[in-house]
């Protein structure tokens, strides 16, 4: 009885498999890629979407939450949003396919569809572990994306914006990006809704930082109110490399943002910052799996979450410190403002420490707006909603301001205040 219930295919699961069958012969890929795809789809078919019984998906029961999947369709939008910062070089995908020919001074830009056709993409279509549902879905359906190569020593002053435009329908993209030794760059990965109607999006960024690379990588998720967004950032940080990773979620109906980070080189440093703006009847899950795998590495992780209406948020933060990763210093914090009685946030920090000489800490807070602060602002003539928005802004601004780059800070603050104007 139980087994039957577990194996019953949901409408979304059926639609997913049907969608794959409908695209056989159409999805790009040589023999190796096609067999990799087939294996992933078989896995999805056999195991189904994860339920709350799967620990990694305990707070995001995908089988229940994912109600339907739109058909994959051609791009219908011609919307061309401006880049987040004026100076940025734009690299666009539209409905999961490369949009226009792209060249950016100083870096090598290739087509991921070509990698699929040539078969060089096949090894990367593997999953990280058996619960890597995003890897499975993306590997099955991915059509295109960009391969970026920052040559060793390159200092790219101009920010690069990967602008992934998603309208109604499906889009599955992948971005393998390598930063050569000693290179410096800022990359903005932005997912934007372009038309109304339900979008089903999966995206995997596969990033490596070679020795001494210094990278700022910013993920901006602004999908539509009906959209499902399943995304993964896979990172490997090499010797003495520094990664500043900033993630902002300000959209979507059902969102899972996974950060799978391997701190793999001595002297490496990760600064992870996240802002989650949640409202309406939405569900947003940020799951971090961070491995400190060698000695002498440092990381800090700070998330600020603001939850309005009946929204639900999840943060799972797993830090694993390997047996020989002595002198690791890792600090994680997850702070949440609950703005309504029906808002929910689940924070699950996990530390798995096998080394004995490390500094590791985590803290989680949940609070409401401070009434004394609200009263003070109102006593100066600032109306209730505006005062509330100012205080929410203050709560998240601290994290944004750490980025220091003035244009970036301003652009991100604008996203936050626009979002608050619509939801607060």
């Amino acid at each position: 009885m139980n087994m039957q219930a577990q194996n019953r295919q949901t409408a979304a699961e059926t639609a997913l498999l049907d969608s794959y069958n409908a695209q056989i012969g159409e999805l790009p890929g040589n023999g190796a890629v096609i067999s990799a795809r087939d294996r992933l789809v078989d896995d999805l078919k056999t195991n189904g979407l994860p339920t709350r019984r799967v620990e990694a998906w305990h707070y995001t029961d995908l089988k229940t939450l994912l109600r339907s999947i739109p058909a994959s369709g051609p791009a219908s939008s011609v919307r061309n949003p401006a880049p987040l910062v004026d100076a940025a070089a734009l690299i666009k995908t539209r409905q999961g396919e490369a949009d226009g020919n792209v060249s950016v001074d100083g870096i090598v830009v290739g087509s991921y569809a070509d990698m699929l056709r040539e078969g060089t993409a096949a090894p990367g279509l593997s999953v990280i572990d058996k619960d890597d549902t995003i890897g499975k879905i993306n590997g099955s359906f991915v059509r295109d994306g960009y391969v970026l190569e920052f040559p060793a020593g390159a200092e790219i002053g101009q920010p690069i914006e990967i602008q992934a435009l998603h309208g109604a329908g499906q889009a599955h993209t992948r971005f393998p990006v390598s930063f050569g030794a000693g290179s410096k760059a800022t990359v903005i990965e932005r997912h934007i809704q372009t038309t109304d109607g339900q979008a089903f999006v999966s995206s995997v960024s596969d990033i490596s930082l070679e020795d001494g690379a210094e990278v700022t990588w910013i993920v901006v998720q602004e999908q539509g109110a009906d959209d499902t967004h399943l995304a993964q950032v896979r990172v490997r940080v090499g010797n003495n490399a520094k990664l500043r990773l900033f993630v902002i979620n300000a959209g979507g109906k059902l969102v899972r943002q996974e950060l799978r980070i391997d701190v793999a080189g001595e002297g490496a440093d990760l600064q992870l910052r996240g802002v989650n703006l949640l409202g309406g009847d939405t569900h947003t899950d940020v799951t971090l799996v961070l491995g400190h795998n060698v000695p002498n590495t440092t990381s800090t992780e700070i998330f600020r979450n603001v939850v309005f209406d009946r929204a639900r948020g999840v943060f799972q933060g797993m830090i694993k410190v390997a047996l020989d990763a002595q002198k690791t210093d890792a600090r994680m914090a997850c702070n949440t403002l609950l703005m309504s009685d029906d808002a929910e946030f689940a924070a699950k920090p996990e530390l798995e420490i096998f080394a004995d000489d490390v500094q590791c800490g985590h803290g989680a807070t949940v609070a409401d707006i401070d009434d004394n602060h609200l009263y003070y602002l109102m006593a100066r003539g600032i109306p209730h909603n505006k005062a509330r928005a100012m205080l929410v802004n203050a709560f998240v601004a601290e994290i944004v301001e750490e980025l220091e780059d003035e244009a970036l800070v301003e652009a991100l603050e604008a996203i936050i205040s626009n979002w608050l104007e619509k939801h607060a």
Partner: protein
């Protein structure tokens, strides 16, 4: 300008009655001092005037320019020109002082139907007012009140008052925590705002502040009622003899 009639109020949370039948009239152009021992309801009165939600008015009314303001929230009252300089201004991390000043000034202007200030006009006004109050411009770069000393906080309150140009200024123990130099600066700031269409209510424990901000009327508040009203002589009398005599007479 302000007429409080038979006001009764209690703490919303536990129902403790603090104001018990208070009557007070303050005319435009007047400086009124409210004095009284600890726990007499002075701060509570200032909070109730500003519209703080923690207090519940159970009886009576507060007329401001003839309008009952009890149904208005703090922002609406502020936009109508009521300003409370707090005894303990709160620190608000993450809210930049300049941004706060600009939003407050413009929201009040909007509520009154005036055009918003341009940024250069705004900056000029702040610089001028800050210089008058001997406020270090670096202080304005910090988040609101964060890391300000006690004296800096009080001066920042008077700066806000000068910029917002309220009609009814309520100063809640603005002298506490000020040294004599700071006290003079703050008093000068208040005196500069005195005008025939503006009233000032000074709440204080001590006569000292009243040497610098000279009151037209002095009211003694005790157990939630005004038990004695007089002119500035009354404050001197209190300074010399304490509250015991007056309380004894009232009882």
């Amino acid at each position: 300008m302000l007429e409080i009639r038979n006001l009764h109020a209690r703490i919303a949370e536990d129902g403790t009655e603090i104001i018990r039948g208070l009557n007070l009239t303050v005319k435009a152009g007047e400086v009124a001092a409210i004095m009284g021992p600890n726990g007499s309801g002075k701060s509570t009165l200032s909070y109730i005037l500003s519209g703080r939600e923690d207090y519940e008015v159970t009886e009576g009314e507060i007329l401001y320019n003839g309008e009952n303001i009890l149904e208005l929230d703090p922002a609406e009252r502020a936009a109508k020109g009521i300003f409370l300089a707090f005894q303990y201004p709160v620190e608000i991390p993450g809210v930049a002082t300049m941004q706060f000043l600009k939003v407050a000034m413009n929201e009040q202007r909007k509520a009154r139907g005036d055009a918003e200030l341009s940024t250069p006009d705004f900056i000029r006004k702040v610089k001028e007012a800050a210089a008058e109050l001997k406020i270090n411009p670096d202080m304005l770069k910090r988040p609101l009140n964060v890391g300000f000393s006690g004296g800096e906080k009080k001066r920042a309150e008077i700066l806000q008052m000068a910029l917002l140009e309220p009609k009814l200024c309520v100063l809640d123990e603005t002298d506490s925590g000020l040294d004599i130099d700071a006290l003079k600066i703050v008093a000068d700031g208040v005196n500069a705002l005195k005008s025939p269409d503006r009233a000032v209510i000074v709440i204080t424990h001590y006569q000292r502040l009243l040497d610098y901000i000279v009151p037209d009327t002095v009211h003694v508040l005790y157990k939630g009622q005004i038990i004695r009203t007089g002119d500035k002589q009354l404050a001197l009398e209190l300074e010399a003899n304490g509250y015991a005599d007056i309380i004894g007479q009232a009882a």
